[in-house]
């Protein structure tokens, strides 16, 4: 493994840990504040933005985490460049 590869791997692991911690934090707050969420998110009207914004925030951090997670495990897309015709 070259120096550059090692540096890249370290960076990916770092990003996985960081986004993983944020993702776990988000899920802990989701599950520990269920009553508050149920009361406010079901109000409708202008409160409709709450679930949408929440979904975007979760997808950003958890999406990044899951991507890094598979990379760290060595599961990656094919190295061959596929030309889609």
């Amino acid at each position: 493994m070259t120096f550059l590869d090692q540096k890249k791997k370290k960076k990916t692991v770092g990003m996985m840990v960081l986004t993983g911690i944020i993702s776990i934090g988000l899920y802990i707050s989701l599950l520990s504040n269920q009553d508050i969420l149920n009361a406010n998110f079901a109000k409708g009207g202008m409160f409709a933005f709450l679930p949408i914004i929440t979904a975007f925030i979760f997808s950003y951090f958890h999406g990044a985490f899951t991507g890094h997670f598979w990379t760290v495990l060595g599961v990656e897309a094919s190295k061959k460049k596929k030309e889609v015709k």
Binding site: I52, H62, W70, S78, K80, K82, V84, K85
Partner: protein, 362 residues
């Protein structure tokens, strides 16, 4: 809808088993969606309802997990050059109109014929659409396999060639996935049908992806990736509509999303290892199996409407359990085919790499 909004305030209690169940179903659904562009919803919605979630809350929560999942999947597949954003947005906007119209039809049927009538309509739509499209897709995949042309470029259908040859001034748009200019007068009805199906059976991709392949002439990989853009546009609009009435249970949506984001990354990566015809195989297999699952429920609803002899409670329970079991099997089999194809692709690539290293040394 207002009464239902009040009912939505009584969201179900979540225990550890429910959370694990939703996470796992989300993972498998995400895996299949990442690969074929849709799927999972047909198990997730009844799966949530079996936990005691009211029907509309289940549909709304499923939709609210779908759009962020589709966004992550579309971004991932765009990195592999598989997404046609312009086609996805064009179809997605008309699909949104289809969703609204489909939901309106659903409400009218429910008002006139009650829950059993609405369920019968959903099941018959499932059976008819899946029978026609599913068998066609599977037959096409089988023909490709038998002809030994799986490694060759996909040929576009005669219908797609005709659609691409029609020039209607003022409506022509260039789409990179088709490498041709196509009139938006063709994309609008296709998007609308995708949306209507999404509002009826929750999986618009069963029409969206085949129509992009067979009617517009998109390659399978690009069609399934572009479907994720349509799902994002449709899911975002649909979620907002349901959220306006307070129907989204954000806890359910985010737990399913938790699992499905692991799955969608894997499914998206899987597409880089397989031959394009595998998209058709997975989609066709799932569609045909789900067809049997929904077909089993038709006598139940016919009996509830008094159109056939009343079925005993035992028979109804058995049919419902078998139907749900078959749906889970369809999703699991789809996921298995995706993982197997991905594994084989990785093995072949590693072997090729080793051989080239050995060759270089020699």
């Amino acid at each position: 809808m207002h009464d239902l909004a009040q009912a939505a305030a009584n969201f179900i209690n979540l225990d550890a088993i429910t959370i694990i169940y939703l996470f796992l179903v989300g993972f498998v659904g995400g895996l299949v969606s990442g690969f074929i562009g849709s799927g999972g919803a047909f198990v997730l919605t009844p799966g949530m309802m079996s936990l005691g979630v009211p029907g509309l809350v289940a549909v709304a929560s499923n939709m609210c997990h779908k759009f962020p999942k589709a966004l992550v999947g579309a971004i991932k597949r765009a990195k592999y050059g598989q997404v046609d954003v312009k086609l996805g947005i064009a179809l997605g906007i008309s699909a949104e109109a289809g969703v609204l119209y489909g939901a309106h039809i659903q409400e009218s049927i429910k008002k006139t014929f009650g829950d059993a009538g609405s369920n019968l309509y959903v099941s018959i739509s499932f059976v008819v659409v899946l029978a026609v499209v599913g068998i066609f897709v599977l037959r096409d995949a089988w023909k490709t396999y038998k002809s030994g042309t799986i490694n060759e470029d996909e040929k576009i259908t005669k219908l797609a060639r005709w659609v691409q040859s029609i020039n209607i001034p003022g409506t022509m748009v260039y789409f990179k996935s088709l490498n041709a200019r196509v009139s938006i007068l063709f994309t609008i009805p296709l998007g609308f049908a995708t949306g209507m199906l999404a509002a009826t059976i929750a999986v618009g991709g069963f029409v969206g992806v085949p129509s992009m392949i067979y009617v517009l002439g998109a390659p399978s990989l690009m069609a399934s990736a572009t479907e994720l853009v349509i799902a994002f546009v449709m899911g975002l609009g649909g979620s907002f509509k349901y959220a306006l009435h307070g129907m989204v249970d954000i806890r359910l949506a985010m737990i399913i999303l938790g699992g499905s984001l692991f799955g969608i990354q894997l499914g998206a990566m899987g597409t880089t290892y397989v031959k394009p015809f595998m998209i058709k195989v997975v989609m066709g297999v799932i569609m045909v199996i789900v067809l049997f699952s929904r077909g089993l429920m038709v006598p139940v609803y016919l009996s509830q409407l008094g159109l056939i002899q009343t079925l005993s409670d035992g028979t109804v329970k058995m049919l419902k359990a078998t139907s749900f079991g078959i749906m889970i099997f369809a999703l699991a089999l789809g996921a298995f085919i995706v993982l197997r194809a991905m594994w084989q692709g990785r093995q072949a690539e590693r072997l090729e790499h080793k051989e080239s290293l050995a060759h270089a040394k020699a």
